[in-house]
């Protein structure tokens, strides 16, 4: 970690957005007190992880990137024993486990083994497990990576409900739509540094224009260098133009107007798309690279 400075307020949903290898997981492991803090200062609930690791973990819920479920135990037993790790009585652990299985819609699978569950179900079980100690802060590391869209939306819905109940969420993601859906505030990370901080709306307002015009050109066979073929034809069309290998992004307040302007200049793109700017664009602006490559 080089330069990572942030505070998370109770009840908010805070996100770390960045590509793989940006240092998101390392930051989460430090907050979770399972990784030593090498330099700098970290306090969780006002406590020092080096001194009060167990006390901090007692109040945390953790959804790790890997499911780490116990295949030797049933769905219900996975929750039961986890409650015991937090010193709950068997009766209390069972009460909460049954309730949580209801919450993540796995009641019907409670006596099944874990192995045959789908990826989305396993994720939901891990979320239920992380809630067994009624944590004041829930850490989620890439909660929906590898899930199909339907499973992701179901998971987002559950996380949104938790947020409404006042649980503080802290999550990492490399999906901008996930960050936009769930986070009140986020930091954009790149190469073990924080490069920007704010709400999704603020970041978009601050770093990019309202709209983006995406142009794709059909290039002739063997045309190698893609920066050459436009040859400055888009110059002055908008505040900022970003050339990617497969398309050109024109950042402008009015996408339609920019599209017609380009057409007037004689450009004939194979496809034209006008859309609102997203966090993806913010990331591109800040780092010069895409989030998911």
């Amino acid at each position: 970690m080089d330069s990572v400075d942030f505070d998370v307020a109770p009840g908010e949903a805070f996100g770390f957005l960045g590509p793989n290898g940006a240092g998101k997981t390392s930051t989460m492991r430090m907050i979770g007190t399972v990784s030593p803090v090498t330099a700098g200062k970290l306090t969780v609930f006002g406590l020092d992880p080096a001194q009060h690791g167990a006390q901090i973990r007692a109040r945390l819920g953790v959804v790790p990137q890997a499911d780490t479920l116990d295949n030797e135990l049933s769905v219900l037993e996975n929750l039961l024993i986890y409650g015991r790790y937090f010193d709950l009585s068997w009766a209390e652990s069972r009460r909460r486990a049954v309730e949580l299985l209801e919450f993540v819609q796995l009641t019907e699978r409670s006596s099944d083994k874990v192995e045959p569950l789908s990826g989305g179900m396993k994720r939901r079980l891990v979320i239920a497990r992380s809630l067994i100690n009624e944590p004041s802060l829930l850490l989620l590391d890439e909660p929906t990576t590898g899930l199909d869209p339907q499973a992701r939306h179901l998971l987002w819905d559950r996380l949104y409900r938790l947020k409404q109940r006042g649980v503080t969420l802290c999550l990492t993601t490399h999906y901008m739509d996930e960050a936009e859906q769930l986070c009140d505030r986020l930091v954009v990370m790149d190469r073990a540094r924080i490069v920007a901080e704010g709400s999704p709306r603020e970041l978009i307002d601050r770093y990019v224009t309202r709209e983006v015009l995406e142009l794709r050109f059909r290039r002739a066979e063997g045309e190698a260098d893609d920066s050459a073929f436009l040859d400055g034809q888009l110059e002055g069309l908008a505040e900022r133009i970003e050339q990617l290998p497969d398309r050109v992004l024109v950042y402008t307040e009015d996408g339609e107007a920019a599209a017609s302007a380009a057409y007037e200049r004689g450009l004939r793109p194979a496809s034209i798309l006008v859309r609102r700017s997203s966090l993806e664009d913010v990331f591109l602006r800040l780092t010069g690279r895409s989030l998911v490559e």
Partner: protein, 270 residues
């Protein structure tokens, strides 16, 4: 004047009482498989003792029996009791522990709770000790049933077997935490555990080994476990000799635990 801050002195420096939670976890898993475990815990000793003690023993006894004219069954029964506890403990501290660290990563899930790395080590070591106790008691039942119990002191072979099991489990668990796959385990069993089983005085006295191999037998923990259990079982008790054997076993177990504290921390807290 030196003052000691009592709040910083951790009772039971090995781990906290939280390690008992890991024991609970293992019992929860065991609930599913205990019947077949008990069944094989009874049938294995029976098969071994009948085949080797009674079957092979016919020929040994015809030639004067084991050293001291002891019937062969009585001679190998306490030794087999100790070796089977060792074999089980060696296995359980290798593959299943590797699964929890590397394959299923359930240790990592546990570390997100108030449990710490040393609780995992202590908890699972206790569990392996518990299983060794269970196996040894079952073995003892078979020994008594086959009429191979010479001295009532034979029951003390059970704690000796458990201590031997821990003397293997602790260092092997420490070793497991340094591995990222199970390749080395095959070598460990082929070149370590199996030769020990055969040549640590289990089936014949180590005095029959070539002289250059004998010191090697003395330094292996299994030899001490076998020797102590056998002298108790046959009622030939030399207090000093047994004390030495027990001390060696305890020393290896403690050294293994100390190594495990290091390797578990290094592996799991990164």
């Amino acid at each position: 004047m030196t003052t000691i801050d009592l709040s910083r002195v951790r009772p039971g420096a090995i781990a906290s009482r939280r390690s008992l939670r890991i024991l609970e976890h293992d019992l929860l898993v065991f609930r599913r498989g205990w019947r077949s475990y008990l069944l094989s815990g009874l049938s294995q000793p029976f098969l071994y003792l009948v085949a080797m003690g009674i079957g092979l023993g016919l020929y040994v006894n015809r030639n004067g029996g084991a050293p001291g004219g002891v019937p062969y069954l009585d001679y190998i029964a306490p030794a087999l009791l100790v070796t089977q506890a060792m074999m089980a403990a060696a296995f359980e501290s290798a593959w299943p522990i590797m699964g929890k660290i590397q394959w299923e990563k359930t240790y990592h899930a546990a570390l997100n709770t108030p449990l710490g790395a040393l609780d995992l080590l202590a908890g699972d070591l206790m569990w392996i000790g518990f299983r060794a106790t269970l196996l040894s008691v079952l073995f003892m039942v078979v020994i008594v049933a086959l009429g191979a119990a010479v001295s009532p002191l034979v029951v003390l072979a059970v704690p000796v077997a458990v201590l031997t099991a821990l003397a293997f489990a602790a260092p092997i668990m420490a070793f497991t935490a340094t591995q990222t796959g199970d390749v080395a385990f095959n070598a460990l069993f082929r070149f370590g555990i199996t030769p020990l089983f055969l040549f640590s005085g289990t089936f014949f006295p180590i005095e029959k080994l070539p002289p250059f191999l004998q010191p090697l037998a003395w330094i292996t923990p299994l030899y001490h476990g076998v020797a102590a259990a056998r002298s108790l079982a046959l009622g030939q008790v030399e207090p000093v000799g047994i004390a030495v054997h027990v001390a060696v076993l305890a020393a290896v177990a403690v050294a293994g635990l100390a190594a495990g504290r290091l390797t578990f921390r290094r592996r799991l807290v990164v």
